[in-house]
Symmetry: C2
Subunit: 220 residues, 2 copies
């Protein structure tokens, strides 16, 4: 049976994909794109190296713009990222019967709660799966066990799709390249682990500079 | 790395074991016994047929007695079962670094919440895993995909270890065999699915009569 994993190219969504694959599901790794930034390229590289089918799912830029408005109004990213995540889940639920993402027990944003899961599942007749079974230590242990990192240089900031899309939009909103975003906007709640480098992605938030793309390889 | 799955012999804990095994863990299926009832026998049969190591973990009967007191005082089983589950998790946490059980997103009792998980993990330096990633439909689908049921006759009521232990204690408390427990006590919250037969276990609560033991076999 086909399952979709919303895919950033990071370790959590990669782990989700491996779990479903090992339970016998035919997994599509789906990276959402809003037509602003080619953030799906590093994700597609990881998907390829993990031997999964990779799909770029195009969504309207207006959704991203709305998310950015929420973020700019709030002055912090949580609600905007949450809005984006929920819009993506709603849209992809019409395409697959099993929808998974890499959100885990310790995550706060983006995260849908039990009532939202039930609503999503019932309205679309789908099954939603995430990494709630596991805590961060277990996930780190699983990731070390399952993956190795390969570094490849390219001219693209590598981060989760929320973060990239958001930065890209800030660039558009402010009409200039954001080289030093304000401190309050540095803390992307989706890939917050990246601040310590444990996410596998760069901890820097400056966009458009040359850096290494992290590609995950399956060890076992 | 070694992982313990608290094991009733049912589909949820069996699924938990298969997931960890497919992620590369060396799984012990651990069935708790309070020295009252040989409830570990059907679990050991399923464990064997699934090709897992099975361990019977003996705990003091006083814990079961305390659980029964709570149930009798409350007039319904939730708090007593919750107490039992927490005592089991505390005890087993000194024996393994990874502790898993078959509780899932839709379960209410027994279930430990996020604060309890964090406390358990931090105090014992362990990792706790359950089936919170999955809803009941996904678990049913996975179970159909992974397991087939084999029925074997033996003289033992087959149910989850909470339920068996609880009934057995009621027998002791009341000094007689309970052939028709009051309706309020029929609804075991741990294996509530058994009322519709979907659990794979008998929906009857009369103990000690001959019935079929359900043994799980791995299909894939």
């Amino acid at each position: 049976m086909k399952a979709c994993v919303l895919y950033s190219g990071g370790k959590d969504s990669s782990l989700m994909a491996v779990i479903l694959s090992r339970l016998g599901y035919d997994v599509d790794l789906v990276t959402v794109n809003f037509g602003v930034f080619d953030s799906y390229i590093p994700a597609s590289m990881s998907a390829k190296s993990l031997n999964f089918n990779h799909v770029v799912f195009h969504m309207d830029q207006s959704i991203l713009e709305e998310a950015v408005k929420i973020i700019m109004n709030d002055g912090f990213p949580n609600n905007g990222i949450k809005y984006l995540h929920e819009e993506v889940l709603e849209a992809i639920s019409s395409k697959y019967e099993i929808i998974a993402d890499g959100t885990r027990r310790d995550d706060r944003t983006p995260k849908i709660n039990k009532d939202q899961i039930k609503s999503l599942e019932d309205r679309h007749n789908i099954q939603y799966v995430n990494l709630d079974s596991f805590g961060y230590k277990m996930i780190n242990s699983l990731v070390s066990k399952l993956f190795e990192l390969s570094y490849e240089k390219r001219c693209l900031a590598v981060s989760c799709y929320y973060r990239k899309a958001w930065h890209s939009q800030i660039v558009q909103y402010e009409g200039r390249r954001v080289l030093s975003p304000p401190a309050s906007s540095l803390n992307c709640m989706h890939c917050k682990m990246s601040k310590t480098g444990r996410c596998g992605f760069s901890s820097e938030t400056t966009v458009w500079r040359e850096r290494q793309t992290v590609v995950l390889l399956l060890k076992l």
